[in-house]
């Protein structure tokens, strides 16, 4: 039913595009310019500002290089929005950049959108406080939330390797997150007070007990330990069928937080591994030390927490801005690895296993090894993300690692589109924003603006976040199982179906013990 409707809409769009393309070139340009002039004039009347009309007409030359009429109008409206936000001077700069982009050679065109997105994200701290208020959702997320969003984007891309590429449902991803966070805490805090080992940690008194290692190797170590942990979990469990695997990972995801919770006195031996419900806090701040900082002309901060006395573009740089930029670097690293893996030999093996395990095995793909690599890679990024998040918050608490988080990250992958990095990034950013700020903002908007007669509802919207994710999961799986921004291949699998009977079922089909 839904499929036919979608097909109909697609068909309508196709025929419209065909008709548009059938027009002669000159007519098309004339129509485009005409529409744009009409739009400019309309805008002129809306705001009585001469600027609009002038700017939109200036933009015409640039915009009509874009391929389709609707996109031109969207671009036009976007330009107006940019103008409203930035004011005339910055707008001229944006226009110049846009104009320069039209000269990017064809073979580099595919980099335009990623680089633009990256630049916009990196500059976010500079224009965050100048942004307009979104209806219903309220203000744009602040930089602190931005860091959390980036961390979860990283973890979602990691989970996407397991769920999206290899098609293994992992309901215990939070275990990897916790492993990373606690590894970071062990190597960069006073947790092990009976030893004293300092290695490049910044902003820590050298007489302080405990292990204090510079954060950068700690991130790597956390990733590596988590990857090993993923392999350890994977080796015995990965031969299980999909739903059994899901439940086993869920089991690990439940056991690990309990170990964290009871780890202040492991099995009554007095070994304090995790400091129990109090968590480990504070963690050492990240930084590059004074030597590196001075050598780079104070471009690299010596200590993130005592940062920074610089004011750039009228923006006083705070330590959370620095955390934000390094989180961007981590996300870029993750995305780079994930994208390179996707079409590597290993990545193609994952997709083959996802689509048909039997055929993949018949083609000589080692099932166990390939699946274990998926686990290890996914775990690695989960670990690094968890470690960075712990360092950012300067704490790890066992309450951060409940089953809800696993489902939360899974929800990002599903909403964005399993297997598609862009989709997963968007899904992660959006859901984390909702979790951190969006739901609270929406809730207060609902409570003040929606009323029945004189009765205002008083709903604590963030309280129901789990249920809201539940609704999102169910709706997406029912109506658009490939996610909002699907990978084309995954969409085809969901709509045409795949032969996903696992290998071990073949000779036993239909003998499942019945009730």
């Amino acid at each position: 039913m839904t499929a036919t409707v979608a097909h109909g809409a697609l068909g309508f769009r196709r025929s419209l595009r065909a008709r548009w393309n059938a027009l002669p070139e000159r007519t098309r340009i004339a129509i485009a310019i005409g529409a744009e002039i009409v739009l400019s004039v309309l805008l002129f009347f809306v705001d009585h500002s001469l600027g609009f009309a002038a700017i939109t007409i200036t933009a015409i030359y640039w915009t009509y290089r874009l391929p389709l009429l609707p996109w031109r109008l969207v671009a036009q409206l976007g330009l107006v929005a940019v103008y409203l936000v930035l004011g005339p001077r910055s707008f001229a700069a944006v226009l110049a950049i846009g104009y320069a982009l039209t000269w990017v050679p064809e073979r580099h065109k595919r980099w335009v959108y990623p680089v633009a997105a990256l630049a916009l994200t990196a500059l976010y701290p500079f224009y965050q406080d100048k942004m307009f208020t979104i209806p219903v959702f309220g203000a744009w997320p602040d930089v602190f939330t931005g860091v959390v969003m980036l961390v979860f984007m990283m973890m979602a891309v990691g989970l996407n390797i397991v769920v999206g590429y290899a098609g293994l449902l992992d309901l215990g991803y939070v275990a990897f997150y916790a492993t990373g966070a606690y590894t970071a805490a062990w190597f960069a805090s006073e947790q092990f007070a009976h030893t004293r080992w300092h290695f490049g940690a910044v902003g820590v008194d050298p007489t302080l007990p405990g292990i204090h290692v510079s954060i950068w190797p700690v991130l790597l170590v956390a990733g590596a330990i988590t990857a090993i942990f993923g392999i350890l979990i994977g080796l015995p469990t990965l031969r299980l069928r999909g739903d059994y695997l899901a439940i086993v990972t869920l089991g690990f995801g439940e056991i690990l937080p309990q170990i964290a919770r009871n780890g202040d006195n492991l099995f009554g031996t007095g070994v304090n591994l995790t400091n129990g419900p109090n968590g480990i806090t504070p963690l050492d701040p990240p930084g590059f030390g004074h030597g590196l900082s001075a050598a780079t002309g104070h471009f690299l901060p010596a200590n993130f927490l005592q940062c920074c006395n610089a004011t750039v573009l009228g923006h006083q740089i705070e330590s959370e801005d620095v955390f934000f930029w390094f989180a961007i670097l981590l996300v870029v690293f993750t995305v780079f690895c994930s994208a390179r893996l996707q079409y590597s030999r290993l990545g193609r093996a994952w997709i083959a296993i996802r689509e048909d395990e039997t055929a993949a095995a018949a083609m000589g793909i080692p099932l166990m090894r390939t699946k274990t690599w998926a686990y290890a890679s996914g775990a690695f990024f989960g670990g690094v993300g968890g470690a960075y998040y712990a360092v950012f918050k300067s704490a790890t608490f066992p309450t951060d690692f409940y089953f809800n988080i696993s489902v939360f990250i899974l929800c990002m992958v599903i909403l964005g589109g399993m297997g598609n990095i862009t989709g997963v990034l968007v899904g992660a950013a959006f859901l984390t924003y909702l979790d951190q700020e969006g739901l609270a903002n929406t809730g207060s908007w609902i409570n003040t603006n929606i009323h029945v007669g004189s009765h205002h509802p008083n709903i604590d919207v963030p309280l129901y976040s789990a249920g809201i994710y539940g609704v999102i999961i169910v709706l997406v799986m029912l109506f658009r199982p490939e996610g909002l921004i699907p990978s084309r291949r995954r969409a085809a699998e969901f709509h045409e179906g795949v032969h996903d009977q696992p290998l071990y079922d073949l000779e036993h089909m239909g003998t499942v013990e019945s009730s």
Binding site: T237, D243, E254, I255, V407, G467, Y469, H508, V512, E513
Partner: protein, 325 residues
């Protein structure tokens, strides 16, 4: 090896304090009865659809809330009602069973039926979603605090031998569970509808060719499973005298472990597994000598789950199925 170690440990426990051992064992059996009712729901659904119905535990939780609401609103349930308690509890339980059965069948209709031909993971994912939704329905309905049930079951002892006491409120749970289990067994193994269920579980296409309405049979299975969850919810609420919106998921997972332990898809297996899990939990939490204690119950239960899935995925009573390779 592991089994031998556990047995030795239990013998040691028994010699340390026989009365306490007997006491915790009885508690374990009572626990196990509630788990059995929930585990049967998992097993029924898994047997027919090969789907882990994550929402089942939350339906159980709703069952407890229904029981408290119905019992206090409609039947004026309160402590010290004497013999009049029996019809009141039964009526409450039947209402809760009906409500939960309807909800469970509704979940199947909304979230699982449209995905019958989708990849296997799709309904599993919606099951998690439904679980969260139902939890939040409970939260919106009763709030984030414990919902207190009237403490109606008498606490006087059935027997008290050598310091081992068995109070009536535990006894009643067992007394109500057993006939429900027998009824279910009769339904599945002796009736026409039960035959249809078994046929659908074995091979949906063949069952359809034989004139069985497969979708209706699946709905019926969910209805039965939901009713069992409702019964379990009623007993749990009246016995533990409190229910909270997020308890269902946790207890559901423990019961699912029980179902896997006994051999998923196997009815007697689910009961056996549930009793075992109940005993393990009670021993772990109640025995005096070197037990990890209640802080570790979940870890132990999920550890058992993982070990069973890895080493004996067919469970204790199940036939050798291919999951383990």
């Amino acid at each position: 090896m592991l089994v031998a170690a556990v047995v030795l440990l239990l013998i040691k426990e028994f010699t340390v304090s026989p009365s306490q051992f007997a006491q915790t064992t009885l508690i374990g059996v009572t626990n196990g009865c509630v788990y059995a009712l929930i585990a049967l729901g998992y097993t029924l659904v898994y047997g027919i659809l090969e789907l882990i119905n994550f929402a089942h535990g939350d339906v159980f939780m709703l069952g407890g809330m229904f029981a408290i609401t119905f019992g206090t609103r409609f039947f004026n349930m309160h402590p010290g009602q004497g013999i009049a308690l029996i019809p009141i509890v039964l009526a409450t339980m039947i209402l809760a069973m009906a409500a939960c059965g309807a909800i469970n069948a509704g979940i199947e209709f909304v979230a699982y039926r449209p995905l019958r031909n989708a990849p296997r993971l799709a309904p599993l994912i919606t099951a998690i979603g439904m679980s969260f939704i139902i939890q939040d329905i409970g939260l919106a309905w009763k709030g984030p605090e414990y919902v207190i049930a009237p403490d109606v079951f008498p606490h006087s002892n059935v027997f008290s031998v050598g310091g081992v006491e068995y109070p009536w409120n535990h006894m009643l749970v067992v007394l109500i569970t057993v006939p429900v289990l027998l009824l279910l067994l009769y339904l599945v193994q002796r009736t026409r509808q039960g035959k249809a269920m078994r046929a659908t579980a074995q091979d949906k296409d063949a069952a359809a060719i034989m004139g069985i309405n497969v979708n209706r049979t699946i709905s019926f299975t969910f209805l039965i499973a939901g009713a069992l969850a409702g019964a379990a919810g009623t007993l749990y609420a009246l016995w533990a005298t409190s229910v909270r919106f997020d308890q269902g998921f946790q207890l559901g997972l423990i019961s699912f472990t029980a179902a896997v332990l006994g051999g998923i898809g196997n009815l007697p297996g689910a009961v056996l597994g549930a009793i075992l899990i109940g005993l393990i939990q009670a021993w772990n939490e109640g025995l005096p000598w070197h037990m990890p204690g209640s802080d570790w119950t979940e870890s132990i239960v999920f550890g058992i789950l993982i070990l069973i899935l890895i080493f004996r995925p067919e469970g204790l009573l199940g036939e050798r199925t291919p999951e383990g390779g």
